[in-house]
Symmetry: C2
Subunit: 322 residues, 2 copies
């Protein structure tokens, strides 16, 4: 199993989580098993299970609960990606064809549902009502955020507060919950549980801002998806907010966002304008502020190699190129 | 609130469940609330929450756990209906337009997901790991059954065992789980938990067979959906199995099932042939056998008004006309 260097100290735990995620349920239909292997094998960074594991390391925790919880958060994440790709009609995810390009929407919806159920079953193995409740609330937050985006008709809202709310729902909520739940299972004190929640929250915010930056400044080969896809879909992210704040007279970017002109040339031109405007640097500075806050949140925790890995992870998420 | 006469003895409990289901979550977006009201108000019989409530009545149970559990099973059921209607492209459910006719598929998928999350959050309020685990396993059974139907390409499998498996996944699994979980929360003994599980299982099998019969022999006005919709979709149910076993030379019914000819006249002719063949009566006899088994399962339980209501319910599900 390939892991990022920071995760070498939890490699064995991550491998246990991997096996757990691939456990075959007795009720499972054969073709479903092959599909789950495909989905789970498509090479995510396993950040969310790693957060569960690292957060559980400050006090002695029961691996029979931590492993299923880590499997639960990654399975939940996979389920939301499947439904997202269907909804956004995306073709590629991590360089692989998405489920919705291979199957009809019925099978795609149901496979996502099945993974939600599997995730809930894993979460139930913790036997902690508090953990299970956080888990369910987090899924509500994620879905509610997406519904708001669809119904609000405010995809194009030029508003930093709205942007932060959206990336909280989409990403930071599950990062925060993963760290918080790991801490709870280890029996950490309430202030420590809160500290690890805050670490996860800020890390998740930084991570998503960087994701949104890479959609402009990344490399298509590294990312496994086309550049400028947010602009193409009319989704305003932080670099675009910075650009439009500084260039209120510009017409190209709003035209691409409005979907009136989705020519590749036009999208590329808009991406270049945003990249050359200093918006990437300004957005990176914001991501770094969140990363710094995530490191600060760890100040009261015992100093050990796991805390160090979490500090390193906060640097990794802002420095990554994919 | 309208309840069937059998449920008068649990009217107050059902009303409490109804309020619970409509509790507004602080994170909820306004339009979502209106939609949930529409969905929850569309007049189901509330059989699943009633099963939770009735099964919990043999020993003193904590209403603060039973109410959320009953809300959880009905919310889960509503979520699966939303995704089913989307997948089957159904237009009407209980005489009302389905969500997928009013909204795009993105909003429909996400609303279903949101309700899954809400259901899981309600289930977590029981603080019972055993209950939560059964809950999650049941959702897995439901999704897996549907996936099998899609992937197996065996919609048209002419096989009673396959049919029973399918209606178990689709309906009886949640009936069985509802009764079982209600019993667990009341602290019933293990044999009693098993007995109530068996009651729910057999009741659910009877219920679904009758549903499938009504798709031929029911009244469109009562049902709020067109007659013959299973045939039209190529789904073989018990009446069709009985008919084809007795009329292996018939060409009309296989033609309608294969979708080569979906003319209304042809569908109506096939429905009439099946109705006149004795297949409805044979199917009804099977439903009655399941109902009898559900009543038998209750024999070891304390005799009281709740047990009587459950016996009456077994008659109701086979005698209902809608």
């Amino acid at each position: 199993m390939k892991v990022i260097p920071i995760f070498e100290i939890i490699r064995e735990d991550l491998e246990r989580v991997e096996r757990k995620m691939r456990e075959v349920s007795p009720i499972e239909y054969e073709q479903l098993k092959a599909t789950l292997d495909y989905l789970l094998g498509s090479g995510g960074k396993r950040l969310r299970p790693a957060l569960v594991l690292l957060s559980s390391k400050f006090y002695p925790a029961d691996a029979d609960k931590v492993t299923p919880l880590a499997a639960a958060v990654e399975t939940l994440h996979t389920a939301t990606l499947i439904h997202d790709d269907l909804i956004d009609n995306s073709f590629l995810r991590r360089g692989n064809p998405t489920l919705n390009t291979m199957w009809n929407s019925a099978a795609t919806v149901l496979t996502g549902d099945y993974l939600f159920a599997r995730a809930a079953a894993f979460a139930a193995e913790t036997k902690s009502a508090r953990v299970i409740s956080i888990f369910a609330q987090t899924l509500m937050t994620i879905c509610n955020g997406e519904l708001k985006q669809i119904f609000g008709g405010d995809k194009g809202q030029l508003n930093r507060e709205y942007y932060y709310q959206r990336i909280y729902s989409k990403t930071a909520s599950l990062f925060a919950a993963s760290a918080e739940m790991g801490a709870i299972l280890s029996g950490a004190s309430e202030p420590e549980v809160q500290a690890l929640h805050d670490y996860g929250y800020n890390l998740g915010m930084a991570f998503q801002i960087v994701d949104d930056i890479l959609d402009f400044a990344g490399n298509e080969g590294d990312l496994g998806k086309p550049i400028g896809s947010d602009l193409r879909q009319g989704i305003i992210t932080l670099p675009t907010i910075h650009f439009l704040e500084a260039h209120s007279g510009d017409e190209t970017v709003p035209r691409v966002l409005s979907g009136r002109d989705e020519e590749d040339d036009e999208v590329r031109a808009a991406v270049e304008m945003i990249k050359e405007s200093g918006a990437i640097e300004a957005s990176t500075a914001e991501a770094k502020r969140f990363a710094a806050r995530s490191r600060d949140a760890l100040s009261t925790l015992p100093h050990n190699e796991y805390r160090q890995a979490m500090l390193d992870l906060a640097n990794f998420v802002v420095e990554r190129r994919k």
